[in-house]
Every structure is written in structure tokens, then in C-alpha cells.
């Protein structure tokens, strides 16, 4: 708490980082609230539609959102440092376009995947370097990155390009059986692997602790001698890499490349991260929370699909409403903690 705010009843904005971060037990509260919401929504769904309460419906939430999970992981890193990455949706589209085009020209699937990962990571790295070394706001740099990536999609082709290559179609059709007549796609395992890796990196490595420290207070982190510059650049490279992986997963899912694909996906990713309990000011949040955030977005869509009478635009309204509820909850917890 800054001593100033006790003097002043007319509070507008609390610039003191202690105020904007959650403390003590309240730290887990937003994420737990998300988990609670998810369980409640699933229970309501099960009450309304008998077929809702099945393991496969739950697993489909993962299968249909593998790319969003991976995007949310990358976005969590960026937002934890107090930054933002608006380019992710466009990079997903670019990755899909590049892989669809090269596969059509007979490239080897492995080579294509490596190249796509290099492009995504490289673009992220470049944005990170500009943000860090020229001190331009992440918002603007990643916005330019979004224009660049989306523009490159248009340059490659304005048409939708189908993917017929063996490995990609194989991945699209493959089902990994689980006990109880259930199955998941290989993409789900990959996405969960990335989540596990991100969890390990964030909580058990120096890099992860530096990410949290930067979000808490960049200046203090610098004074502590932490590698702030390198970490901030790497976080954007990581997000670019995650976007490229998400692009490949989306290619597995949709088996095509289209320059208008994944439009607005950056908003879904940000919404998932916020609903998952990460503060946009940085410093507080969990990658697992972001995954639950994605599942909540997924269940909203499942609900609307099950209902059948609700139009698609209710998805947007409900997601906006959920965002609002969680933002207000975060404010409430922050006040209590303060």
C-alpha cells in the first residue's frame, strides 16, 4: 500500500505495484474461482442435457481448443511480465499459410514444421528486441507485428489452400484411445506437454522467477541483478514460438491454410488468460489458470452448440460478461488483500 492513498479518498488509479498484485491466500482465489465456475457450468450443462455429462464432451473441450491452449500459454508468459502480444492470431494464420503452401509444393512435413517454428520464433524475437532495445510499447510493436504477419498471409495467397499431405492428415484423423471408450487427438497430448513444460519453467527455473519478478516490479528486478532485458526479449520469442505451434495444431485441426483464419484469436487468448486469473499488470497468475480459462471459453461454445436456438453472437456477449465478472472479482480480491 502506498502511504499516499491513505491520505486521499479520491482514488483513481493505484500505481503502486503492491496494490495491483494479489497477496497471500487471495493469490489463488481468482484461479480457484475460475475452476469453480467451470465445474458449475459443467454441472448446469449436465442438468440441462443428459448427454453433456460424458467424458468425451470434456475431452472435446481439449481437442477443439488445442491451439488456443498453446496460445494462452505463450500469452501468459508475456502478460506475466506486464506486456501484451497482439500478433498471436496473425502469426497462427501465417504459420497455417506457410505450411499449407509449402506442403502443396511437395515439401517434407518435418522441414515445414521446423521452418514454421523458426518463422514464428524469429518474428517474436524481432518484436522483443524492438520492444526492449528501442523502448517502444509492446502494444504498438506487436500491433505492427500483427499487420506484418497478416499482410504476409495476403501476399502468399488470398485463397484457402487445402492440406492433403500425409503426415498432417494423419495427425488430423489420429485418435489416441483412452480407457472407457474415450479418445483424444495427438494435438491434445502436445498441448498438455507444452503446458507442463511451461509450468515447470515458470515455477522451477530462474527464467520463470525472473518473469514473475519483472511483472512485480521491473525496476526492482533490474536492481536485483536479474537478467531483465534478455528475459523480456525471450518472452516475446516464446510467445511467437507458441503461436507457430498453435498454427501447426490449427492446421492439423482444419487441414487448410486461409489468410483470414484465426481472426480475433488474440482476443480469445487474452480473455482466457484474464479469466484464468492472471493480472494484466503482470506479476500474478498461473499458466494452469489460463488452461482453465480456455476450457471455460470452450464450454461456453459447447453450451451454445448444445442449445441450438442461441445464435453465435451470444458467445461474444457471454465471454465479455465473464471477462467483466472476473475483472470485478480481481478488483475485489485486490482490495481485500490491500
Amino acid at each position: 500500500m502506498s502511504p499516499l492513498s491513505t491520505l486521499t479518498p479520491l482514488t483513481v488509479k493505484k500505481p503502486s505495484p503492491a496494490r495491483s498484485r494479489l497477496r497471500g491466500g487471495a493469490r489463488y482465489a481468482p484461479t480457484l474461482a475460475t475452476v469453480g465456475l467451470f465445474i458449475a457450468m459443467f454441472a448446469v450443462g449436465a442438468g440441462m442435457y443428459p448427454s453433456f455429462l460424458s467424458g468425451q464432451v470434456f475431452l472435446n473441450l481439449f481437442i477443439d481448443n488445442t491451439f488456443l491452449i498453446v496460445l494462452a500459454v505463450g500469452m501468459t508468459f508475456v502478460i506475466l511480465t506486464g506486456g501484451i502480444d497482439l500478433s498471436v492470431g496473425a502469426v497462427v494464420a501465417l504459420s497455417m499459410m506457410v505450411s499449407a503452401t509449402l506442403l502443396q509444393q511437395g515439401w517434407n512435413a518435418g522441414a515445414v514444421i521446423v521452418l514454421v517454428l523458426l518463422i514464428g520464433g524469429g518474428l517474436g524475437l524481432l518484436m522483443g528486441l524492438i520492444i526492449q532495445y528501442f523502448d517502444i510499447q509492446p502494444f504498438i510493436v506487436t500491433l505492427a507485428g500483427m499487420f506484418l504477419a497478416r499482410g504476409l498471409c495476403y501476399v502468399i495467397s488470398l485463397d484457402s489452400i487445402p492440406v492433403t499431405e500425409g503426415f498432417f492428415t494423419g495427425m488430423a484423423q489420429a485418435q489416441i484411445p483412452l480407457p472407457g471408450d474415450l479418445f483424444v487427438s495427438p494435438g491434445v497430448l502436445l498441448a498438455l506437454g507444452i503446458v507442463a513444460a511451461a509450468f515447470f519453467v515458470l515455477h522451477h527455473t530462474r527464467f520463470g522467477r525472473t518473469v514473475y519478478a519483472i511483472g512485480g516490479n521491473e525496476h526492482s528486478a533490474m536492481l536485483m541483478g536479474l537478467p531483465v532485458k534478455a528475459t523480456k526479449v525471450l518472452v516475446y520469442a516464446l510467445s511467437g514460438l507458441c503461436s507457430a505451434i498453435a498454427g501447426i495444431l490449427f492446421s492439423f485441426y482444419s487441414l487448410s491454410g486461409y489468410s483470414l483464419a484465426a481472426q480475433g484469436m488474440e482476443l480469445d487468448a487474452i480473455a482466457a488468460v484474464v479469466i484464468g486469473g492472471t493480472l494484466l499488470t503482470g506479476g500474478t497468475g498461473y499458466v494452469l489458470g489460463s488452461v482453465v480459462g480456455v476450457l471455460v471459453l470452450g464450454i461456453v461454445q459447447t453450451f451454445i452448440a448444445y442449445d441450438g436456438t442461441l445464435s453465435s453472437w451470444w458467445t461474444k456477449i457471454v465471454i465479455g460478461g465473464l471477462l467483466l465478472v472476473f475483472i470485478l472479482l480481481q478488483r475485489l480480491f485486490a482490495r481485500k488483500a490491500g
Binding site: F134, F139, I327
Partner: protein
């Protein structure tokens, strides 16, 4: 020359002049204006007319950004305003009458007002970060607009309504005149009264301005309402220009263009000092870029790539760090390491 190049508007104006010159070189009749049926025509007029909604929204955005805020919801407000007014006209008993058009305009402006009050409430009273507070409306707003139009494109035929976006008055397009009027109003209100200084004070140091006895909460509220009303008027222009409301695509990404216009114009996203003239120049740069792409015969698909490169170049030119690097390089053309960094960025 040195003091001139240090003026905050120098780079944006040079960039705009260079773009216009480029057009002039490739198309000698670029700058020419001609009269036809009492209306002015020409590329410059086109740029102004097509850029009018962006300029309008960017003006509102400038004031929001000056208070250290940001308004992501303007695109959604554009969609809602267009949807509400067109839905009203389409459902009214006299869809062609001027009274209906006036009521529709009123509905759109009131909708903008209400949405601005909502954003301002979240930011100033609840204390939510501006970027998230307006993200809520950005996400939900387009859904609301689709709800109003029922997912359809609502087309209307009302001559009075059409004139907002496509009509002429005193030889000039009405949309340009509306934009000029809003600009004049904003300039007078913020530069001839204390309001501008108060907005800058809130942006530079919210705590200090509060301690100085400033009702920062009200100032913040005002700027969000102004921004949303500007967006609503822009929504009227866009929907009236095509005499239809498209909840999905009206004003899509216009928030990005508006924010870019503000930043290119020289107002820092960190808040504080702002320049309305700079914003208008910035918006012209963005609009001229689109025109330039056509003039140069570059395939339209490349527009976005071109835009991205120009944006990043202008931002780099304005970044103090890049400038320092530049002057240091000039002073001592030695360190190869710095040059390497610069080259990396130039790609």
C-alpha cells in the same frame, strides 16, 4: 534546422509530405482538385473523406491516451451505433423521412454516450485498468451489435441519413465538415480552457494531480464519454456511407488504426502531453498509405505489410533511444555493434 527537426510534429509531417510527394511523382494529377456539379473532387478529398471516421475516433483516442488510458472498444461502438440507427430506421413507419433520420442519429449518439459512461465507470470508479475495462466492451460489443441487427446486414434507404456519410455541403463532403467541427470543438475545449492541462496532469501523474485537488475521476470519465461519442458519430458515417449496418465488419480494426494515428502523431502511450494536430496528421498518414499502395500499383494484398513497415519506421524514428543511437552514430561513426542492432531492426 536542428530545432525544426526536434519539433514533435516534425517527423509525422515529413512522413506525410514524403508520402504525398511519392504519389505526386507517380501520378502527376494527384494533387489536382476539380469541381463537378458543385462538388469538389480529387484524391486529396478522397483521402480526407475516407479518413474521416478514423480521424474522428483518433481524436477521442488522443484524449483517452493522454490520461494514460486506452479505448479498445471504439470499433464495437462503431458497430453498435450503426446497428442501432439502421435498425431503428428500418423498423420505423416512415423509413424515408428526415425526422426518422434525425431520431436515428440521436439514438446512435445516446448509445455512444451510454457506452462511454460505462467505460468511464469501469476505469474511474471501479479502477480497472483501461485496457481490460474496454476489452470487455470490445469483446461483447460486436455481439450486442449482432443482437440488434439479428445477425443480418440491415440496409436502409433514407436520403437524409445517407447524406451524413456520402452527402455534400458547401462543395465539401459532409463527413469532412463534421470531423472538422469535432476537431475544432475538441481543440477549443482543451486548449482554450483548463481542461487540456487537467487531462495532461492526470496522465503525467495521477497521484500528484489528485493531491493537487483535481477531480481526476471526472476528467477520466469525460474522456471516455468523448471517445465513445466520437466512435458513435464515426459509426453513423460508416453505416450511412454504405446505407447499411454490418455488425461484423463495420469499424473492424479501426481501434488499431486510431491508436496508430495517435502514436504516429507523436502522443506517447505513456500518457501526458498530447497533440490533436499530430493525431490528424497521423490519421492522414495511415489513409494516404492505403492510397499510395494503389497509386504505386502495388498489389492491394501488400498494403498491410507496407503499413507495418511504415508504422515501425515512424515509431523507431520517434523513439528517444533510436534517436540517441542515431545522433551518437553521427558523432562517432565507430561502434560496429550498434550498427548491427540498427540493421537488424531495419529488416
Amino acid at each position: 534546422m536542428k530545432s525544426l527537426s526536434k519539433h514533435r510534429l516534425a517527423w509525422p509531417v515529413i512522413a506525410l509530405a514524403a508520402l504525398l510527394l511519392l504519389n505526386q511523382v507517380f501520378r502527376p494529377d494527384f494533387m489536382s482538385l476539380r469541381m463537378q456539379d458543385g462538388h469538389l473532387y480529387g484524391s486529396l478529398i478522397d483521402i480526407m473523406r475516407n479518413g474521416a471516421p478514423t480521424i474522428l475516433i483518433a481524436l477521442g483516442m488522443t484524449l483517452v491516451i493522454a490520461t494514460r488510458g486506452i479505448d479498445l472498444s471504439v470499433g464495437a461502438v462503431v458497430a453498435i451505433a450503426g446497428a442501432a440507427s439502421c435498425a431503428y430506421i428500418a423498423a420505423s413507419p416512415e423509413p424515408g423521412s428526415p425526422v426518422t433520420a434525425a431520431t436515428a442519429v440521436l439514438i446512435a449518439v445516446v448509445a455512444g454516450l451510454a457506452l462511454g459512461v460505462w467505460n468511464g465507470f469501469l476505469v474511474s470508479t471501479i479502477g480497472v485498468q483501461p485496457i481490460i475495462a474496454t476489452l470487455v466492451l470490445m469483446t461483447a460489443g460486436r455481439g450486442v451489435a449482432q443482437l440488434i441487427t439479428g445477425g443480418q446486414i440491415v440496409s436502409v434507404s433514407n436520403d437524409s441519413y445517407k447524406s451524413i456519410g456520402a452527402g455534400y455541403l458547401f462543395t465539401l463532403p459532409i463527413s469532412i465538415l463534421i470531423t472538422a467541427a469535432v476537431f475544432a470543438l475538441a481543440a477549443v475545449l482543451t486548449r482554450r480552457t483548463a481542461l487540456g492541462t487537467l487531462i495532461e496532469a492526470v496522465g503525467i501523474n495521477p497521484v500528484a494531480s489528485r493531491l493537487a485537488g483535481l477531480r481526476a475521476r471526472n476528467i477520466i470519465w469525460i474522456v471516455y464519454v468523448f471517445s465513445a461519442v466520437c466512435a458513435a458519430i464515426a459509426g453513423l458515417m460508416i453505416s450511412s456511407n454504405v446505407t447499411a449496418a454490418d455488425a461484423n465488419n463495420a469499424g473492424l480494426y479501426i481501434e488499431m488504426d486510431a491508436i496508430l494515428a495517435v502514436v504516429i502523431g507523436g502522443t506517447s502511450l505513456a500518457g501526458g502531453r498530447y497533440t490533436l494536430v499530430g493525431t490528424v496528421v497521423g490519421a492522414f498518414i495511415i489513409q494516404t498509405l492505403t492510397t499510395t499502395v494503389y497509386t504505386l500499383g502495388i498489389p492491394p494484398e501488400v498494403t498491410l505489410v507496407f503499413k507495418a513497415l511504415v508504422v515501425i519506421t515512424v515509431c523507431l524514428l520517434q523513439a528517444p533511444k533510436a534517436r540517441n543511437l542515431f545522433t551518437r552514430l553521427k558523432a562517432a561513426p565507430k561502434p560496429a555493434a550498434q550498427e548491427a542492432v540498427k540493421e537488424k531492426v531495419a529488416i
